[in-house]
């Protein structure tokens, strides 16, 4: 049996000290039959070709091609620049932060498992030029991965035009061409047209997989592979989680359990969902979560035109104890907390005993928990209990270790919660209609032909 390593701990949504803010077995039980139906619907729909992201860990589209590109370019690449935004960036950043040192780009070449990685997910010129300055004498050793399904994303297209221009000026047209790998639609759209015209090497955004569900596809995997992350284990973790989240019993299915708990709390006006990793490595994973949660679930519900959806927040333990916990305990009781906890860190640091007689220092080194990891665990435990004392519910997802396996599981788990939540909320989790107007307005302001009339004029 392909057991998952992540553990979901729901005790502090069920604890009776939560009073009216706790969930009872009865409440969860009442939602269970409908959730079981939803799991069946999803299983059926998968067979009909829906929920395509669920197939990625099994079909592994272009995995060999990704490895081949890394093989072909590794020796000639010291810098990898990813041009992408939203779903074309957040997954890349999250996987890199989780599985490589947070000081990765500061390390000398021989201490890194791959090139320096710059994911340029904004068009701020100061930030952009600061990164350009770092690579300006190294264009011949820089590879650029442009990620855009359509080529219509103004930010990514603008960056692409600038970087292409610099590469051509630094090298020549032919050499510049070799420094691009473009991840885009298999056959249609502006970016595919440009790939064909320029002869760029390319990868494919799998059909039917939206940006925010694409990290386990070539969108997220190329940069990961370049930076030494083991894709097979990452995908094996996701595949293992597929088994767990396919369990037809909602209460034994971690995705269904998460969906039920969040849905029940939303019905009780706890619409702010805080994800708080007690791990610096998982901080950007909470940022990835923030997109999949907000963009999938923040919707006008078709049946009654009501605006629904949770507001996700990323926080960081222990740091945000000194910033947000005052509000979390004494502010409105409108939040559900999800802690990410790590049982065993890749390394730990013993706190030395010093300053005999100064108890405010001495206890730290004397304690059985006297390591930084032990302190971080104690802080997490303290925070969940302090929240409990204020009747604020919290969940914990426990990582035995942070590695490819557990990260793959985590990503797949949270992706899989989404369609269940979508059905419980009676909204479509796969579209993003409200993003459109801003895109049209940007085209209008930037003078794109065909967009002369302001879309605000209706």
């Amino acid at each position: 049996m392909n057991e998952v390593s992540l553990q979901l701990d729901t005790r502090y949504v069920r604890d009776e000290r939560l009073g009216d803010h706790g969930l009872t077995e009865e409440q969860i039980g009442q939602l269970t039959p409908r959730t079981a139906e939803i799991l069946q619907e999803i299983a059926t729909e998968r067979k009909q070709g829906q929920h395509r992201f669920r197939d990625l860990p099994h079909e592994k589209p272009q995995l060999d091609e990704i490895k081949q590109i890394v093989e072909d370019y590794r020796d000639s690449t010291d810098n990898l620049i990813v041009l992408g935004i939203g779903g074309s960036a957040l997954g890349n950043i999250a996987v890199q932060s989780a599985l490589n040192p947070l000081t990765y780009n500061l390390l000398p070449n021989h201490q890194r498992r791959g090139p320096r990685l710059f994911v340029l997910d904004n068009v701020d010129p100061v930030y952009f030029e600061a990164v350009m300055q770092l690579v300006e004498d190294q264009w011949d050793r820089t590879l650029v991965n442009v990620i855009s399904k359509s080529g219509e994303t103004a930010e990514t297209s603008a960056q692409f035009l600038i970087v292409r221009d610099r590469l051509i000026k630094a090298l020549d047209e032919e050499e510049a061409r070799k420094r691009f790998v473009v991840t885009t639609d298999a056959s249609k759209g502006t970016m595919r047209e440009i790939v064909d015209r320029e002869g760029y090497r390319s990868l494919t955004v799998p059909e039917g997989v939206g940006g925010r569900f694409s990290v386990l596809s070539p969108v997220g995997l190329l940069s990961a592979a370049f930076c030494g992350i083991d894709l097979d284990t990452l995908l094996a973790g996701a595949a293992a989680m597929d088994e767990a989240v396919s369990n037809p019993d909602p209460q034994a299915n971690p995705a269904a359990t998460l969906a039920m708990i969040h849905h029940l709390y939303m019905q009780r006006s706890k619409r702010i969902h805080v994800m708080m990793p007690y791990s610096q490595q998982l901080r950007d994973m909470a940022d990835w979560y923030r997109q999949i949660w907000a963009e999938s679930l923040g919707k006008i519900r078709p049946a009654d035109k009501v605006c629904v959806g949770p507001t996700p927040i990323k926080a960081l333990g222990a740091t945000d104890q000194h910033s947000q916990v005052q509000l979390y305990r004494e502010g409105p009781n409108d939040k559900v907390f999800t802690f990410l906890e790590v049982n065993e860190f890749d390394c730990d640091t013993i706190i030395p005993m010093a300053f005999e007689g100064v108890e405010a220092m001495e206890y730290l080194g004397r304690s059985d928990e006297g390591t930084l990891g032990g302190l971080l665990s104690a802080e997490k435990r303290a925070t969940e209990l302090a929240l409990l004392a204020s009747q604020r519910p919290s969940l914990t997802i426990r990582f035995p270790q942070i590695n490819e396996r557990s990260v793959g599981e985590f990503i797949y788990l949270y992706e899989s919660v989404i369609p269940i939540m979508g059905k419980l909320m009676a909204i479509n989790p796969y579209d993003q209609p409200a993003v459109e107007l801003g895109k049209l307005l940007t085209f209008h302001f930037m003078g794109r032909k065909g967009f002369e009339k302001s879309p605000m004029e209706g």
Copy 2:
């Protein structure tokens, strides 16, 4: 007249297209007399020695001593490590991100204005050791600024014990001693005791200035000065803003105007306050804001024991358009947005014309706005209008440029909003009682003497 350079634009909280979600002149007018009273109260209380943070730009405590420390250590320092958390870290990070390149630590020594800066605001052992690895052969060229008012903060004390141990092992007791500057209480507390015992060089956390209001004191200014930031101009910006936020007419006072708008919206259940800089440099400033907003205003209101307070969120334009704007437009109308916009970036990048006939690429280079800065402005304008079309109110704070002057103004503006909001909300914005239980629990779990009994047992 000492004019401020920041502009507050409130048109999109007043626009009639907002319908019921807009504020009328009448509503603002009704709150104005009470707010005028509050401004008078604050002016009176300042004379009585309250609101001490307001005096920092004038009194400039230890400014010469800070400059002297930088002078004394600059030539022997390639790395500056700040050990602090919460208010002892967020300001340092925000000022550095705003006023030095985001690639600062990646630059070679001669391209930086000071040492590499590492603000270690967490106790994650993997993160901690990753930074330790970077400096392990350079302890003799590393300066450590420990920031803790009391010395009771477990995270900072643990880091201090470890770093001290490594410094002693790498150098010797006497040389290690010279690599510390400790910022702590003037006369009392564990950390002051240790400073006296060890003979460390030290700076003072000004009396009566809480951690989250301390960035313009030695707490935030030492690292800034080391990294080449002009403290005099930073403080001059703050001082100029003092004039503006001392204006007794609330509607001509930017702090009072911000407080009134947020208070009115909180009364109408818009309790999520999103700060969304359209500038990578200001991203960490939104994180600083997040603390001052949450920890000051998330409180049990004494009069009726109701849990009140806004939930602050940091977002980033244009990046989060591809992550959060779907929710912001179609999710519950429970948010007020504050954009930070920059008129003139330190540099800008022209988008080249290319791919003739491919309009999805060509318009970007053809446009009068055809720079990254122009595109970012267009995106901001598009987002505020898209929000308006969904009746979501937004404010803009416009920076003519990002520099010491405007950053000083901004910090002082947001600090000054807090006591006004506190009085409007009838809560004490200067305490943080709910943080206490977590600290006690941590002492308990870590085996500190005197904390053997769990504070959960009451």
